[in-house]
């Protein structure tokens, strides 16, 4: 799987490259600034790009803007955005095209390399991965609203993990229940929230996030 990495700090870029190579990814390009990233994305057409939000030249949200721009030119180009902080505003902008193949994670998530590489693969496969902090904030804001308050505690846990972009089996593993139980919960959630149920993991995530984003 070919990956483009964009990160301006040498130590972190090097660390990411090593981590990815150790897990069998092929590094198509490792760039340090926004223009370089755009060129790499459009020329290399990687299977997935891992992009830091803050990049030169302006050291603001250049990475994010390049990612969104590249996805306009190459629809569905899988991009996993990494950042020292997560903002719901940026999550919304990434999700706005509803094309999937999007991830938005805190940099800390790299510590857990298995989960991180899972996330990279999920995004490359067209899935959507949101940091649990984004999901917590989303839920926190709308928790008091009517349909969400009808969910049971377990259903909320499942919803949270679903919104983060996890598959049924991953959720089952995490909550120590069977996959069947998870799919039962997810059906209940979709009924309560008035969403069209879908077996496709990716569409399911997008529906849930769209719902939470109001």
């Amino acid at each position: 799987m070919r990956v483009v990495v964009a990160e301006d700090l040498f130590l972190l870029r090097d660390g990411l490259v090593r981590l990815l190579e150790a897990h069998g990814f092929e590094i198509a390009a490792a760039v340090a600034d926004a223009p370089g990233l755009l060129d790499a994305l459009l020329e290399q057409k990687p299977d997935v790009a891992i992009v830091d939000v803050r990049l030169p030249p302006t050291f603001t949200d250049d990475g994010l803007r390049v990612a969104i721009e590249a996805r306009k030119k190459v629809p569905g180009l899988p991009v996993l955005v990494l950042s020292q902080y997560v903002e719901q505003l940026y999550a919304r902008e990434l999700l706005a095209d509803r094309a999937g193949g999007v991830g938005y994670l805190l940099k800390d998530r790299v510590f857990n390399d298995d989960q991180f590489t899972d996330a990279v693969r999920a995004v490359a496969g067209g899935g959507t991965v949101m940091d649990s902090e984004v999901v917590t904030k989303l839920l926190g804001r709308s928790a008091r609203q009517e349909p969400l308050s009808r969910l049971s505690g377990r259903e909320r846990e499942v919803l949270e993990l679903m919104a983060e972009g996890r598959s049924n089996s991953a959720i089952a593993q995490r909550l120590f229940v069977t996959e069947k139980a998870v799919s039962k919960h997810s059906t209940a959630i979709f009924t309560k929230l008035d969403l069209v149920p879908s077996d496709d993991d990716n569409r399911r995530v997008l529906a849930v996030l769209a719902y939470l984003n109001g």
Binding site: T58, Q88, R92
Partner: protein, 539 residues
């Protein structure tokens, strides 16, 4: 030349008309203003009647001034028409008395200015009447010529002042006539309206044959300046008046002492302001006028140029002292908060991230020792170290958010407030109208001000929704935060809103709170600042 008998008959006829018609007009006015449609009580009636009486009086003065001129043309009934017009106004539309008085006064003033120009030209002027005084005779030494200008300017001033007051009291009319000058803070700029007259006066000094064409062009230009650059117009009026005054005084001295009036042939006397200087008398009149211009110009200087008084050392420095006081206070607050923020930062780093990094180092050292003897325990320690580093990162993140939120640096105030709204437990509707970026310190202060107000609203208002509107106009950033809760917020009671006000004061910003019991609570913040042009995207 008029035969004496005819003149006497004419005079008697005139006085008869005045004595009979004027009281009749007043009676009509008194009856009309008492009619039910105008029944606004005795005071209202008196006010209306006052203008009606004023109209009759002005009519008599105007008629008296105009009559001999008309008579010279053999058109004797014009004055009767004037009185008839006044009577019609009084009978049918007593309310028109007010504008009619103003128009007549201004017309009389302008007529006087024109009259002053010509009265001294001829060697003989028939006896005539201007305003309240007879003038004429052998015009050169007639005492009346001195008084034409004074009267003309008095009528212009009175009529202009009445008209100005009337215009100011009607906002729509004011906006139409005054344009941008209608704004109350541009009160002094309204003196700029005198620009066409000043321009005429200054061009008259040129005295060339092209005077008239030049004057037309310059007056047209003056009208444009008044409309587009009211401040510049006011400044030009002051400069023009001072120039006219000084030149006029010098010339008056020359004219009255040398006896040389610069006669250049008929219609080519040196002009000054409202007079053609054809003789010594008019030279003195020009001097008096120049004195008036100079006085008005000097009086206007501190009003149009507020800094002039301080520069001349005339102003009491109250304003400056207050400003210094405010700056001292806001600087103290700024320094205190900056110091407090740094202390908090130091403490948070010391107790948080630093402590965790120490623990991390110790765990790693322990793992180093254990790795040979007890690999399993070492792995557990390393995992612990990893978690400690994640927690340190979380804490640092929170710290950074408190110092300067990253989204504020990335996107500016508009998007930062949008992000704030998304994180706020209230349902916040954000309306941003900022076409550029604000200065970074203002952005930060305003961001934390909005955050504080929203936190307050979420905690105390009981509202579930709020609205934030940001806009920038006329060099001021304005932020209005509205919640639909219980109201009753008092900036004096809590530290939150008072703190916001103090911090904004550093930037000369102000805060206003309207929070009646029962809501809604509206907090308005205003900070003077420049808006930089939108950044052009680098990609």
């Amino acid at each position: 030349m008029r035969r004496g008998g005819q003149a006497v008959v004419l005079m008697m006829f005139t006085w008869l008309l005045v004595v009979v018609a004027a009281p009749a007009c007043l009676v009509v006015a008194w009856v009309r203003t008492g009619r039910s449609e105008y029944a606004k009580g005795q005071r209202g009636r008196l006010r209306d009647f006052r203008y009606c009486a004023g109209l009759v009086a002005t009519g008599i003065i105007v008629g008296g001034s105009a009559y001999p001129v008309l008579e010279a043309h053999g058109d004797r009934i014009d004055w009767a028409f004037l009185l008839l017009g006044i009577a019609v106004i009084l009978v049918f539309r007593p309310r028109l008395a007010k504008p009619a008085v103003m128009c007549l006064l201004v017309a009389l003033g302008l007529y006087g200015v024109a009259l002053a120009r010509h009265v001294g030209v001829g060697t003989y002027t028939p006896w005539r009447w201007y305003g309240l005084l007879p003038i004429g005779g052998y015009g050169i030494h007639s005492y009346g010529t001195y008084l034409i200008l004074a009267q003309a300017y008095a009528y212009l001033l009175l009529g202009g002042w009445l008209a100005y007051r009337e215009i100011i009291e009607r906002p729509r009319l004011a906006a139409l006539v005054l344009g941008r000058m209608a704004e109350p803070e541009r009160r002094h700029d309204r003196w700029g309206l005198l620009l066409p007259y000043v321009v005429l006066g200054v061009t008259a000094l040129v005295g060339s044959n092209a005077w008239f064409a030049l004057a037309v062009v310059l007056v047209a230009a003056a009208l444009v300046v008044i409309r587009r650059w009211p401040r510049a117009a006011a400044g030009a009026v002051v400069g023009g008046l001072l120039l006219l005054g000084l030149i006029g005084l010098f010339r008056a001295k020359y004219w009255s002492t040398s006896g040389n009036y610069g006669y250049l042939g008929p219609w080519s006397y040196p002009r000054f302001g409202a007079v053609d200087v054809s003789n010594q008398t008019m030279g003195l009149a020009a001097g008096a006028e120049a004195l008036g211009f100079l006085a008005l110009g000097c009086w206007l200087v501190p009003r149009i140029f507020p800094d002039a008084r301080r520069l001349l050392g005339l102003a009491s420095d109250n304003e400056l002292a207050r400003r210094v006081q405010r700056l001292t206070e806001s600087r103290a607050v700024a320094v205190d908060t900056a110091a407090a923020d740094l202390r908090r930062l130091e403490r948070d780093l010391h107790d948080g991230a630093q402590a965790r990094l120490v623990a991390l180092g110790m765990s790693l050292r322990a793992a180093e020792r254990l790795i040979e003897i007890n690999p399993q325990a070492a792995v557990a320690l390393v995992a612990e170290a990893r978690e400690a580093s994640a927690r340190a990162l979380t804490e640092l993140r929170e710290l950074v958010r408190g110092v300067h939120p990253p989204v504020l640096a990335d996107r500016g105030l508009g998007d930062a407030v949008r992000a704030l709204a998304l994180d706020c437990p209230l349902d916040v509707d954000v309306d941003v109208d900022l076409p550029g970026r604000l200065p970074a310190p203002v952005e930060t202060a305003c961001y934390f001000a909005v955050a504080e107000v929203l936190t307050n609203a979420a905690k105390h208002s009981g509202s579930r929704a709020a609205k934030v509107a940001l806009s920038h106009a006329a060099g001021r950033l304005s932020i209005v935060i509205t919640d639909f809760g219980l109201g009753g917020a008092d900036p004096a009671a809590g530290t939150g809103l008072a703190g916001v006000e103090k911090r904004l004061a550093t930037f000369d910003g102000i805060m206003a709170v309207s929070s009646p019991v029962g809501g809604p609570t509206i907090v308005a913040l205003e900070v003077p600042c420049a808006l930089s042009l939108p950044k052009i995207s680098s990609s």
